[in-house]
């Protein structure tokens, strides 16, 4: 027996057998309690390391981007002016809309419940594709629910739920598909992720009038994705007479790299 264990290949084979055993146990969800305990220990450490990393990155970013800040500041001031005008108009439209709703006896949708969660982990291999949040089954998170940031900006959907944590598939993942509408022209299309880097809207009818800076929102065709969540703004339009559909690259108003607090959207 001793000789058997002295042979390194036997030990290697036993280790592999053990590993396969663990994978099988995980498949039948017997490993869940072990995973939960490890999450419990690792996630706070990860949070701290993220904060340290962020503060180091921020100090570097400040040094590099002072010039950019000036330019951005000017741009933002212009945008604020435009938005103020828009806001006044929207307020008027809101009132008008409210009156019409009442007149038509429109029933309001049930309010959704927001489950706040902190980003506590990134995928070690594909950081732009998935994130882990510190809210799970215990907090009411369910598979396929939409995940947003506070302003109603869509960031992804829940793909895996554990007891105290959940894994989120970001909309920037290549496999993410969300049906979207361009707010102004009401043109529909499919918003896909681009390797964790950006977003792209496809299948937009050729006759749809698109322009840069148009806002794209969710169409509400998916069961768990309500209508009207902001996906992003059109950045560039790709249109050709030979093609049946147009394409557009979309920029989300948020930086997926600096996500901190997100909300899981759950119907009451």
């Amino acid at each position: 027996m001793k000789k058997l264990f002295q042979n390194k290949f036997w030990i290697f084979a036993i280790t592999l057998f053990f590993v396969v055993g663990i994978i099988v146990l995980n498949y039948f969800q017997i490993m869940d309690s072990v995973k939960d305990s490890l999450y419990f220990v690792l996630l706070p450490i990860q949070k701290i390391s993220f904060k340290i990393g962020d503060s180091i990155a921020e100090s570097f970013a400040i040094l590099i981007s002072i010039q950019d800040l000036n330019r951005e500041n000017q741009k933002l001031s212009e945008e604020v002016r435009e938005l103020t005008v828009k806001n006044v108009k929207t307020e008027e439209l809101k009132r008008e809309n409210q009156a019409l709703k009442e007149a038509l006896d429109f029933t309001e949708k049930e309010e959704a419940r927001l489950i706040p969660g902190n980003i506590s982990g990134l995928d070690p291999e594909n950081p732009g594709d998935f994130v882990i949040i510190d809210k799970g089954r215990e907090d009411g998170v369910e598979k396929d629910l939409a995940v947003i940031v506070s302003d109603g900006i869509l960031i992804g959907r829940v793909i895996e739920v554990d007891k105290r944590s959940s894994k989120i598939l970001l909309i920037t993942n290549t496999e993410s598909r969300v049906s979207g509408i361009v707010q102004d022209s009401r043109a529909r299309g499919i918003v896909k992720g681009e390797h964790g880097l950006g977003l792209r809207m496809e299948m937009i009818p050729q006759n749809a009038l698109l322009k840069a800076q148009d806002i794209v929102i969710t169409a509400g065709l998916e069961e768990s994705l309500p209508k009207g969540l902001i996906i992003g703004k059109i950045w560039e339009i790709e249109s050709s007479d030979n093609e049946i559909f147009q394409k557009a690259s979309i920029r989300s108003p948020i930086s997926f790299k600096s996500l901190e607090i997100v909300f899981v959207l759950k119907n009451k």
Binding site: I11, V19, Y27, I45, G121, D123, P127
Partner: protein, 172 residues
Amino acid sequence: MKLFVGILLTISTVILQITLVKYFPSLFNIPFVFLISWAIFQDYKSTLLLAFTGGFILDILSMTPFGLFIITFVIITFLINVISHSLFSEPKLYVILIITFIATVIYFSFYWSLAELLIIWEYSFIDLSNFLSFQLLAGKILGNLIAQIILFKVFWKVSTWLKLYERQIEIS
């Protein structure tokens, strides 16, 4: 003592990886690079244990099917241990870099082929063909080599210290 230091270093590299991956996406795999060094300088039993520990934690934190990192790490580091111990007595930096280069290529091919297999079984929505590119492999090799150069000096010191410590225990 050696195992304790090893496990602590493995966990630290995993945390470092998860922190840095935010700023340098898909560029390197620090736990893997660390395990290569460990496999070259240390015995196979501790190598297997650390490969298992590192793989297990990464599997829990990553979105790829559970078991992918453990299997990849255990098999590759064991092979490195067996080969390097029979070929080199005191490997130099360039030897370690060559091993890192070959190991990264094997890791990349093995990881994604196995992932394809497991994804069909568990996660049908992930299309790995998007990640399989020459640029990504080249980037990963470069990233791992840079990480190895940085880690090598640290690891060399830790390894020498551990050997001294073990000898002292043997004497006493």
